[in-house]
């Protein structure tokens, strides 16, 4: 278990979200390769539907890709996404690199999930095949484990 690297990224034109601000509740970080690609669309659309379940754990979900804030804004509006999309845009992929999930060959983040506890410790991580939508079950299981006393899941 280790501390999640802090970051501050644009969540829209002129708006920022820092990881520190989210301290005090579980955080789900969803790194995904790109706005608009069909698999990501399904994945984020799925999380959009599952948000009420994440909310039961008090968890905040944020999406992160290398797309810019205006691109995120258009994508978010088009898909009615009810969670922030952060732009790991400049320097490109910097945050993804710090989390070890940057795909330099593709120039995008990998498709990766992190569940942080309310202290910002990484309690679960999962890197998916970029073409496969990892679903929500792993996130829900990790959130459930956060509630268990001593129920630490060590990422291997």
């Amino acid at each position: 278990m280790k501390q999640a690297p802090d970051f501050r990224l644009p969540s829209g034109p002129g708006q920022y979200v820092s990881l520190k601000e989210l301290r005090g509740k579980p955080v789900i970080l969803v790194f995904y390769p790109a706005d608009w690609s069909p698999v990501c669309g399904d994945q984020l659309a799925l999380y959009n539907e599952v948000l009420p379940e994440f909310a039961k754990y008090g968890a905040q979900l944020v999406g992160i890709s290398v797309d810019g804030p205006w691109c995120h804004r258009a994508y978010q509006d088009a898909r009615k996404l009810r969670f922030p999309l952060l732009a790991d845009f400049e320097p490109k992929g910097e945050v993804a690199r710090r989390y070890g999930v940057y795909d330099a060959a593709a120039g995008t983040t990998q498709r990766a999930l992190f569940v942080l506890d309310d202290q910002g410790m990484i309690r679960w991580r999962y890197v998916s095949d970029p073409a496969v939508n990892p679903g929500a079950e792993g996130i829900l299981t990790a959130l459930e484990e956060l509630k268990q006393p001593g129920g630490v899941h060590e990422p291997a």
């Binding site: 659309a45 799925l46 959009n48 539907e49 996404l81 829900l140």
Partner: protein, 184 residues
């Protein structure tokens, strides 16, 4: 790093509450998590029909609700209309009608389809307005999430998620292998 299996398993077993067509003791059970407004599900619909025609008594087909309501605003009521029809013993008629008229799924059309199928359509209109089946649909949805449904349609063949294409040949091949396993 991961505890997830490559091939997710169906965590909610097929049971008496399911919408199921085919023999209970069929060697093959195909479960679809679907959304009536999803174009991919719409394209898979005639394929599933063809599978049923070809495999006959070998195949039991089960449909579970998985509406992605934010991108498909009419999917929730379409799902609830199918549940309402099920209470009037017409789930499959409504299921078929919804996929065949996927281009028109607003409430007025849902009620019209109920009429055409000879159902008590005013009752269905009331049940849609009251959200009578909202919880049932959500229960299917969450069961799907726990089973690793990651989009629509998602199929399970004898309880194991099928990750291949939705074309007839791919599905027939996968069902054929599952049948061979089931026979051993």
């Amino acid at each position: 790093m991961s505890r997830r299996d490559n091939r997710a398993q169906l965590t909610v077993p097929v049971g008496p509450d399911d919408h199921s067509i085919g023999r209970e003791d069929a060697p093959l059970t195909l479960v679809e998590y679907g959304d009536f407004q999803c174009p991919h599900c719409g394209r898979a619909y005639p394929t599933v029909k063809e599978l049923q025609r070809r495999l006959g008594a070998q195949l039991r087909f089960v449909f579970r609700q998985f509406p992605l309501t934010m991108i498909h605003p009419e999917a929730e009521h379409a799902a609830e209309a199918a549940e309402a029809a099920a209470v009037q013993r017409a789930f499959w008629q409504m299921h078929d009608r919804l996929f065949e008229r996927q281009f028109a799924l607003d409430d007025d059309h849902l009620v019209e389809y109920a009429d055409e199928l000879g159902l008590d359509s005013e009752r269905i209109r009331g049940e849609l307005a009251a959200g009578t089946y909202t919880a049932n649909v959500r229960e299917d949805f969450m069961g799907g999430i726990k089973s690793g449904v990651n989009g629509t349609p998602t199929f399970y063949i004898n309880g194991v998620r099928y990750d291949g294409g939705y074309d007839l040949e791919s599905l027939l091949t996968a069902l054929g292998s599952a049948a061979a396993v089931a026979a051993t």
